[in-house]
């Protein structure tokens, strides 16, 4: 039997934490993990944030990010324990035997250097190839990865190519030195869903054609199912389950894995439209100092107590629409009618009642709260501002709201830094509810959360909608979320509403080209989905 390429035994990883008001102390974040990767195979590492996936991936390069330290165990690469190696030997390993593809290629490329220089740097420096051979190799990789202009794209600077292209360049960077193992760390997570599918295919083909082994780290089980041979499920630094991709997807043994596979269990019956609470008519908008409209003739209605999901990719204008409705960006043209009143286009001239009845929840709960105010102060502020509540009355109402968001006693005096991501978002929801609004604009409120936590937030929002009869304008790029909660859907593309109607209408064929592309790009949790979609698209384009 051959020894595996990467053999990890009893890996323990620690870090020093600096909690506010306490002495710094060491904690263990990975508690003894074992796994193997054989040459030419792909192992998927999956788990939620804090599971230690990236930390374990980087450990294969003997690298600890920030204050992270590799405290115990063995990491054998090609039969050598890298945790016992000298710094010199570790440097020879990095960028030569093991390479890394990060989540955000945009941040991981040096903005001051041309792409080619960065792609070949490790290969040349490690003495694997001469400069001209490395450049030839890079150009061949650019072509294999489906980049436009493979001969000249390397001469560009990182900001001159798109996000999806840069992610492929990063893959080329990792493959250029002919490594034995590539660590892919969420390589498609930051991309739009229609871009993700192409990059995923490019990465999968490149892995297959070069015969390189890979660690594929992601939180998205549907994505990893397309590329991995084996999957290891991690939770809080420990292995939950290990198996072939087929077994994990189709017959998960552990309860946690089953929850991950069946996530988005929410079902929601769509309601019939009634007299709308919000009517947006022919909105056209542009940002100051620009020449181009970012919204063109946008018209949508939203009924009281219902949810309108606005879906689209980055740059489609969905957040701009929210800014127009809230009055932060006065529209160039068009009208907004809210609760029977015509809304003034700019926010400062709106009445207190308009402000109160139209609330907003943001993607980053972290930055939407003052870190120096307690939860009680944060939720209490709209109670004072809109209703003039004080003292005991206010305290009682705050507690009521905390009960509604399922946080209970003891949270009033906590600071945002003492809450988890999901809890922070719940506090933001309570703050919006405190104003007793008729409409809440939810801008990507679950995008920064782990799937199971996001699921909890969506359930909460749906329950609150039943109790409070509040309408949601739900901005998201995630179609699974849309299916779970929407009553009506507006698909946006390049500032226009591409498709609009009730959920069942929008999600039922025949589709327009863009909606079809968008819907078919959402990864499904089954083996071979990627190939099916690509084959289907090839057939269609051949048929046209």
């Amino acid at each position: 039997m051959t020894t595996p390429l990467l053999q990890v035994r009893g890996l323990k990883i620690g870090a020093t934490v600096y909690p506010p008001g306490e002495k710094p102390h060491d904690i263990e974040i990975v508690h003894g993990v074992d796994f193997d990767v054989e040459a030419g195979k792909v192992l998927g590492l999956i788990g939620e944030s804090g599971a230690g996936k990236s930390t374990i991936g980087l450990a294969s390069m003997a690298y600890g990010r920030g204050g992270v330290e590799l405290t115990g165990g063995e990491v054998m690469v090609n039969g050598r324990d890298v945790l016992q190696s000298s710094l010199r030997d570790i440097r020879r390993l990095r960028g030569a035997e093991v390479t890394y593809v990060s989540q955000s290629a945009a941040a991981s490329f040096n903005p001051a250097k041309r792409i080619m220089e960065q792609v070949i740097e490790a290969a040349v420096l490690q003495g694997k190839f001469s400069r001209s051979d490395a450049e030839d190799r890079a150009r061949a990789l650019f072509e294999k990865l489906g980049l436009p202009d493979p001969d000249s794209i390397g001469n560009r600077y990182p900001h001159q190519v798109s996000g999806g292209q840069l992610q492929r360049c990063m893959t080329a960077l990792a493959l250029c030195p002919e490594p034995d193992l590539v660590v892919f760390d969420e390589p498609t997570t930051a991309l739009d869903v229609t871009t993700q599918i192409d990059v995923l295919k490019a990465i999968k083909d490149a892995i297959r054609d070069t015969g390189v082994a890979a660690l594929y780290i992601t939180h998205d089980l549907a994505v990893v199912a397309q590329v991995a041979d084996h999957i290891m499920v991690l939770r809080q630094g420990e292995m939950v389950e290990y198996g072939t991709t087929d077994q994990i997807i189709n017959a998960p043994r552990e309860e946690y894995t089953q929850a991950l596979v069946s996530v988005r269990s929410i079902t929601h019956e769509e309601k019939q439209p009634t007299e709308p609470v919000l009517r947006v008519e022919n909105i056209t908008a542009r940002y100051a100092g620009t020449k181009f409209n970012v919204l063109h003739n946008v018209s949508v209605d939203l009924s009281p107590g219902q949810t309108l999901a606005v879906v689209g990719e980055s740059g489609s204008g969905k957040s701009t629409l929210a800014r127009v409705i809230t009055g932060l960006l006065p529209p160039g043209d068009g009208t907004i009618t809210f609760a029977g009143r015509r809304l003034s286009p700019d926010q400062p001239s709106r009445s207190l009642e308009d402000l109160r009845e139209l609330q907003m929840i943001y993607q980053m709960a972290d930055t939407a709260m003052n870190p120096r105010q307690t939860v009680g102060t944060i939720i209490g502020r709209p109670l004072e501002f809109y209703f003039g509540l004080k003292g005991k009355e206010k305290q009682e109402r705050i507690q009521e709201l905390l009960d509604e968001i399922e946080l209970g006693e003891g949270f009033q005096d906590r600071y945002p830094a003492e809450l988890s991501g999901g809890q922070k978002q719940r506090v933001c929801i309570a703050r919006a509810l405190a104003a007793k609004p008729k409409l809440i604009i939810c801008d990507e409120v679950t995008s920064a959360l782990d799937p199971l936590v996001a699921d909890g937030i969506l359930k909460l929002l749906l329950n609150l909608q039943k109790v409070e009869d509040v309408a949601y304008l739900f901005i998201t790029h995630d179609l699974a979320t849309v299916r779970a909660i929407a009553d009506s859907i507006a698909v946006m593309y390049q500032g226009r509403v591409q498709r609009y109607g009730s959920k069942s209408e929008v999600l039922t064929p025949p589709f327009d080209d863009y909606t079809d592309l968008l819907l078919s790009s959402v990864p499904e949790m089954k083996l071979g989905w990627l190939e099916e979609v690509i084959a289907h698209r090839k057939m269609e384009s051949a048929g046209n």
């Binding site: 690298y63 941040a107 040096n110 001051a112 960077l173």
Partner: protein, 318 residues
Amino acid sequence: MHPVVTLVAQRLGLGLILLFAASALIFGLTEILPGDAAQAILGQTATPENLANLRAEMGLDRPAFTRYFEWLGGIMTGDLGNALTNKLPIADQISRRMSATLFLAFWAAIISVPLAILLGLIAVRYQNRWPDKLISGVTLASISLPEFMIAYILVFFFAVKLFWAPSFASVSPGMPLLEQLHAISLPVAVLTMVVLAHMMRMTRAAILNVMQSAYIETAELKGLTTFTVIRKHAFPNAIAPIVNVVMINLAYLVVGVVVVEVVFAYPGMGQYLVDAVVKRDVPVVLACGVIFAAVYIILNIVADVVSILANPRLRHPK
């Protein structure tokens, strides 16, 4: 047009406007000083008639507005006027003085700028270890001491005790370069110590800031040594803030040398300005003021332009 050209043209235009504003300000300030050139020449005992006659002779009786534009017109054609005390053309004096000051500033810059950046790089490489702390400590100590103090300490040890360098930096045009350098070695050392800390600390801070970026991790994961990572990946992205602080310090080397020149009796602009102030020679003070302002503005424009050029997004638009 290429956006860089537009940006650079904008900066140049702004610089010109600023220079005009500075000249007006300097002129205005000398106007509101008590007394004028006539008063200064004739002294306390002058009769009103004498004063009026001299003012008419010198043209000081005309409105300040007219005199400002005459003076401005003169400056723009390179005519700085004549000194009041010895009636010599100021331009001749200043060109000699300025070249002496620039000579001193040039050698101080040649030594201090690369040294500051190198020390900054080393401080980052050994962040929070003893080389970093040593560099920070020594440079901080040197910036904390007043420069005349450093000057006298150096004079005491190297001129008085050891006889390694002269305590008076007298340079004459015919001297061989090496002898000139020997003569100015102590003032150059003082200036270097004064500007080093500021530049070194800014270099360190700017590079440390860049070191947090994700692309530094990419470079580390390529197996590059720490120093290569700093030099090839961090430094090019920290150029803009570093250039800004370097330029401010270069300007200081020209404009702020007054004290050092006086201590070492060096025949530069600083000495000239101090002499003129003592003798109430207003035209000379005006000329020196405008030249100092111009040096500041030009060096800051250079800093702006270099920062713009260092940004690949501006240099290579999409």
